[in-house]
Symmetry: C2
Subunit: 335 residues, 2 copies
């Protein structure tokens, strides 16, 4: 690998001149400019980022911590970062709750700050990190978070979904989520439940606590929820699961037990995963603009990076979109 010194020697100038030509800082005569550019081409010179990082104490790199791989969100982050001249490096944090070890890259100067994708960080850790580095939380984030957030208006979309179910004629609308677990992780589930309640109240219906099933995220919770609802005296006529895979498990168990979905009972999911599109029946779900969220996360991050210290919290919310499919639309109210 050629260094700036090699280029300088080859062009017969000093390293300062080479640096000035390459960065467009300072005045350099056309003659030398040409000589330098020729040397750069001849030697196939690529500036060593490490040297630059050390000198500037900036890495122009954003650490992206993920708990799941959201293809479009990562793409959005990457595109926006590239446009701003930043690299991204990803760190995988399989448990949704991150600990400090995820962030050594920051302390060691390998990244200038972080974007957290669907990762929860304990309040105090987040606060101390945010004090030193630009941090943006994105997806599943909490308005009350001490970091900046880019997220979705969960309450609103949950309200819309519930209205849709009401429009179909459903009156016993049940929910499956992880609200009860408490703590911060449950925050975005809590928001969704609030949205459901708002719609029910608008419709003048009263809220029946027995119609909420609480569990962890995942397929098995769907199975357990189905068992629970089947054990009630009277089945709900709609079940809104706060995650698609829950809905998948739930429907399987319901169908096994002879319940017709969606003819007797409408089911909705959340996240509009690939699974929602291909399962039988196709699942009504909520689609989030994750590419745009990714992009916005970077824009927000850059703003925070610009004015460190000002400490204004920035909270951006996107609207989600209902995707209506057979699992609710083919519901037929029995009078």
């Amino acid at each position: 690998m050629a260094t700036i010194t090699d280029v300088a020697r080859s062009a017969g100038v000093s390293v300062a001149t080479v640096s000035r030509v390459l960065n467009g800082t300072g005045q350099v005569s056309d003659l030398l400019k040409r000589r330098v550019m020729k040397a750069v081409k001849d030697l196939d010179y690529q500036p060593n980022l490490i040297g630059r990082m050390l000198r500037c104490s900036k890495s122009r790199t954003i650490l992206v911590v993920i708990s799941i791989l959201l293809r479009d969100m990562i793409t959005g982050i990457r595109d926006a970062a590239a446009e701003a001249g930043y690299e991204i490096i990803m760190q995988y944090c399989p448990e949704m709750d991150a600990d400090l070890s995820q962030f050594t890259m920051l302390h060691r100067g390998q990244a200038d700050g972080a974007i957290l994708v669907e990762v929860q960080v304990p309040k105090d850790v987040l606060a101390s990190l945010s004090a030193s580095y630009p941090i943006v939380q994105c997806g599943g984030a909490n308005q009350l978070s001490s970091a900046n957030t880019v997220s979705v208006n969960y309450e609103d979309i949950a309200c819309q979904m519930t209205r849709h179910l009401l429009d179909l004629g459903c009156r016993r609308i049940a929910t499956v989520g992880i609200v009860g677990r408490g703590g911060e992780t449950a925050y975005f589930s809590r928001e969704r439940l609030n949205g459901v309640h708002r719609a029910l109240e608008e419709a003048g219906l009263e809220i029946d606590p027995a119609l909420h099933f609480d569990g962890l995220f995942g397929y098995n919770t769907g199975l357990a929820a189905a068992d629970y609802f089947l054990s009630l005296d009277k089945l709900p006529d709609a079940i809104f699961c706060f995650q698609d895979t829950m809905a998948f498990g739930l429907i399987q168990r319901l169908v096994q037990s002879g319940v017709r979905v969606p003819e007797d009972l409408a089911v909705a999911g959340f996240d509009n995963t690939d699974l929602a599109k291909v399962m039988t029946p196709a699942l009504t779900s909520v689609d989030q603009p994750i590419y745009e969220i990714g992009q916005e996360a970077v824009r927000t991050w850059l703003m925070v990076e610009q004015d460190q210290g000002s400490k204004i919290g920035r909270h951006v919310q996107f609207d989600a979109r209902l995707v209506l499919r057979d699992s609710t639309e083919k519901f037929r109210k029995l009078i």
Copy 2:
């Protein structure tokens, strides 16, 4: 952020001594050792990797390029890397085929080499990269690759799966894969098909080209394959899909068309994804030891890193394992 100079001042020693204590190089008296350690703790000192990288022209970091997120494989890589004192940074390459831009981190000195997870790189690019950096391809890799590979013996396991189908009494065994596309991407699909053919020949059956359907990976190929097989004069009695999601689509379409799966027709998948466990019927599939593959990839990488230049290609193969479930086991041969 505290630097080594701060630590040295706080401990009343020179920076050389601090470095020696922290890296365990050279002799340092217990007294000074203790003073240094105390200063490190007091100041919460973390060595700046950038400075170290520049000086040593080594980053002790491995670039991991992924096209899909295989949780356990990443975990395996991370564990093994951590044990060897290496960091990993991940780069997401959504298209399975990587281009040069994925590797700028190497040229710029941010990583010492790369592990490619289910990523295909054009032959010439791979060759030139391998000449300069340690590169290991892992999962879906090609024995003929100019890089080192850690992979699974696809031919063998496909042969085993076919024997299993034969044991059930199946005789018209069809396959769905991406063999025909040609090129390197198709390599691991080609291997699987070879395994199927071997088993068929062992059983004295002849190979019917009409019983292979060729398409891209994914759900839609499953649908298309089902349509194709339904159009034949006589249905196969087993279909081996080289990917679980293909099998999922295929089964859906078959069931819609009134074919009973698995009673009339056995179906097998590949990869043992979560979907295989939870779909109806539960899908017989192939489980790969991906955690071990990840670990082995790092071990191989380290070996290559040790003796750059020697250019011995290292190709490690793991055995996969059949996971038998309803989609084949409940097949009942009609005489």
